[in-house]
């Protein structure tokens, strides 16, 4: 299977331009399949929520309760992890959750493409969140208060510089862990499904076994898609909560 260059399990992650656009200041602005499916994810989200909330009724129908449950779920995550002060950032966190969720879901459709399996996409989101939260923390706590977080109180003086370095590395690795976790999870699931799918045809009648496993794996991948969106959002809220809390 590894020798088959045309249908390797990793070929589904290849990014190819669909509409060629010129380079602007050395940046290729072509619409790739990754960008197309990200736009599709945004479009589906907007259409779904506009359709679900077009008639706000006191007793919600099926679509409206879907939107309301999602809203309340994310509202709960923000309030629990970032406190009431974090609710100011709720619209952004909600958009982030919906984007990750729907792009993950669209990636599960056969023959489609999962942009969240591209490390550059998830790392971009992680780095953006990380930069914003660092700027918020610097404004809220001031430079001295910000760096005080890296040295836990009551530490012997000689160990403080080592602790500062360790905490600094752990702080700076946050965007990478956010990005790589999401991308690796999506990539691992899609690769596994592809590898198992390659067993179906050679096994002839016994191919029913891999098919049964594939059904199970696809269901599990939907669970992972929701879980990863939840974890991404929750970690962002936890980092946000650390940045905006008044007393440590």
């Amino acid at each position: 299977m590894a020798g088959n260059a045309q249908h390797g399990p990793l070929d589904q992650f290849a990014v190819s331009p669909i509409i060629q656009l010129p380079n602007v200041f050395g940046i290729d602005t072509s619409i790739t399949n990754s960008a197309l499916f990200m736009l599709l994810g945004v479009l589906v989200t907007i259409l779904l929520f506009v359709f679900a909330t077009r008639r706000g009724t006191t007793i919600p129908g099926r679509m409206q309760s879907l939107a309301e449950v999602t809203y309340q779920f994310v509202h709960g995550i923000v309030e629990e992890n970032a406190g009431r002060a974090g609710l100011k950032y709720f619209p952004f966190v909600f958009s982030l959750f919906l984007f990750v969720l729907f792009v993950n879901f669209i990636g599960m459709v056969p023959k489609s493409f999962a942009p969240t399996s591209q490390i550059i996409v998830t790392l971009g989101m992680g780095a953006f969140v990380f930069l914003c939260i660092t700027i918020i923390a610097l404004i809220k706590q001031g430079p001295v208060g910000f760096f005080k977080h890296f040295v836990p109180p009551g530490l012997p003086l000689w160990i403080a510089p080592i602790m500062f370095l360790i905490e600094m590395v752990s702080y700076l690795s946050r965007p990478f862990s956010l990005g790589i976790r999401l991308a690796a999870n999506m990539m691992a699931g899609h690769t596994l499904i592809h590898v198992i799918a390659a067993f179906v045809a050679p096994l002839a009648l016994f191919g029913i076994l891999p098919i049964a496993f594939l059904v199970f794996m696809t269901g599990f991948e939907f669970f992972v898609a929701i879980l990863q969106a939840y974890v991404f959002t929750m970690l962002c809220c936890m980092y946000l909560g650390e940045a905006i809390e008044e007393h440590h």
């Binding site: 990793l10 976790r181 690796a184 990539m187 691992a188 879980l227 974890v231 929750m234």
Partner: protein
Amino acid sequence: MENAVADIASMKFIGAGLVSLGMLGAAIGAGIIFGNAAQGVARNPSAEGQIRKIAILGAVFAEFMGLLSFVLGIMILQG
């Protein structure tokens, strides 16, 4: 030494195979997390919601370490 190129190609596969041992750590970690979560719920069923939240968060962190070995394997084979 005419087989040097072929040797490097086969070494890549050996390396990727060795990297998959990283899954062992993630498996042990997930086992410890959910085992202790089950124990915690058995001792105090009223704390189930909170324990589940902590367990999922812990499992995600443990899983991430296993997935890092997957990413390393891909990098060895493709890079």
